[in-house]
Amino acid sequence: MSSSNIIKIIIALIIGIVLGLIYGWAIDPIEYVDVTPNILREDYRVDYVLMTAEAYQNDFDSDAAARRLAILGSESPATLTAAALQYATSNNFTETEIQSLQILLTAMQTYQPQGNNP
């Protein structure tokens, strides 16, 4: 086999790989259908934290609020709430919403899981 043929084969191989990558990443990528909330887009995450804050003002149940926030990832509830509060203040959320997040933040900063109580 001549060297020109080998070069042609390598070029064909590279073209095939590139086409495969384009197809697999852009044209028909793997579709995720049962994802976990930790990969929600940031505005959805913040809205979820805000809902948790509003729900907290309905029942003042710190344990329930912490459990609801736990599905967003491994960060502590206070960290998640603080991040949401920062997003809210930066994106012109209403005073009521910011206040709800502040109240939840205070609760989460002082929250002790029931299992850790003496």
């Binding site: 095939g16 994802v35 203040t89």
Partner: protein, 297 residues
């Protein structure tokens, strides 16, 4: 001979192309697939969607913002958001969850169907132990731009800008406005049995059907009913079949069984309810049902 060489060379090139395509697909699908980092709630796992609905409904209990709750539910991509709420409420009840946990779902489903806040509440005063927190000590407010992706900024759902849902819908014609002072039924007022009808339908089971209304004949969801008979007891609530009415509930009766009914809300009691016998004109007999209508005075 040269034709054979050309064919052989073309075959090798084509074969290399195929191998490359296979390698590329294997890498992009299995070794390094596209990673989602900005997912939307519609592709959440079903159990997380359930959790999402609970938080939406509980949040709604506080905000009473029906438009916003509806918008949030739409994010989940349910074909029938009201049906999804009702189905989840029934699943939770069936799995033994307390009704207090299920009630927000039922209430939201009811209000979505009604189109207005059916049970407005007075905001609860905050506990005195929660003072206004000093955010500055816990949140870094730096000059740097917040940790927000461009996409999030460009397409973020402006939840801030939902308009508040009016507690009473603003009908422009034909419907008389409701006096605000009497819009909320007294939750603890006793119910009186105002109607008991035999229902004969050979295609339906022997149902004990309930309809609960307030003094203004508006259907009431969430009324707890306990049915007892000589071999057991069952507990259920109105409002879990919103397609049949928010104050509707039913129970399948058995033949030759006497049932007693206790309405937990208000403490009413009805005894000696049983499945009546129905007869078709051709002489065919079967068990019928009863329709019990309760109303607050």
């Amino acid at each position: 001979m040269s034709r054979l060489k050309l064919n052989n060379s073309t075959f090798h090139i084509f074969f290399a192309l195929l191998i490359g395509l296979g390698l590329g697909l294997a890498y992009s699908w299995f070794l390094s697939p596209v990673t989602y980092v900005d997912a939307n709630p519609s592709i959440l796992r079903p159990d997380f969607k359930d959790q999402y609905r609970i938080v939406i409904a509980t949040s709604y209990q506080f905000t009473q913002d029906l438009a916003r709750a509806r918008a949030r539910l739409n994010l989940l991509g349910d074909v029938d958001p009201i049906g999804a709420l009702s189905a989840q409420a029934q699943r939770m009840l069936a799995s033994g969850e307390p009704f207090e946990k299920v009630r927000p779902l039922a209430q939201l489903a009811t209000d979505l169907q009604l189109g207005y806040v059916s049970n407005p509440i007075t905001p609860t005063a905050l506990p005195t132990s929660f003072n206004t927190p000093e955010v500055e000590s816990t949140v870094e407010e730096t000059e740097a731009s917040p940790n927000v992706t461009e996409e999030a900024q460009a397409t973020s759902v402006p939840t801030v800008f939902f308009e508040q849902t009016p507690l009473i819908p603003s009908f422009s014609e034909t419907i008389t406005p409701r006096p605000a002072s009497t819009s909320t039924p007294a939750p603890g007022a006793p119910f009186a049995l105002v109607g008991q009808e035999k229902v004969c339908d050979p295609s339906a089971p022997a149902l004990m059907q309930f309809m609960f209304m307030d003094s203004r004949r508006r259907e009431i969801p969430g009324v707890e009913i306990i049915v007892t008979w000589n071999q057991g007891e069952d507990k259920f609530f109105t409002g879990f079949k919103p397609e049949l009415g928010n104050g509707y509930a039913d129970f399948v009766m058995q033949a030759d069984t006497i049932y007693n009914i206790r309405i937990v809300t208000g403490g009413s009691f009805v005894s000696n309810i049983f499945a009546p016998a129905c007869t078709e004109p051709n002489g065919f007999s079967y068990l019928g049902g009863v329709m019990l209508t309760f109303q607050q005075p």
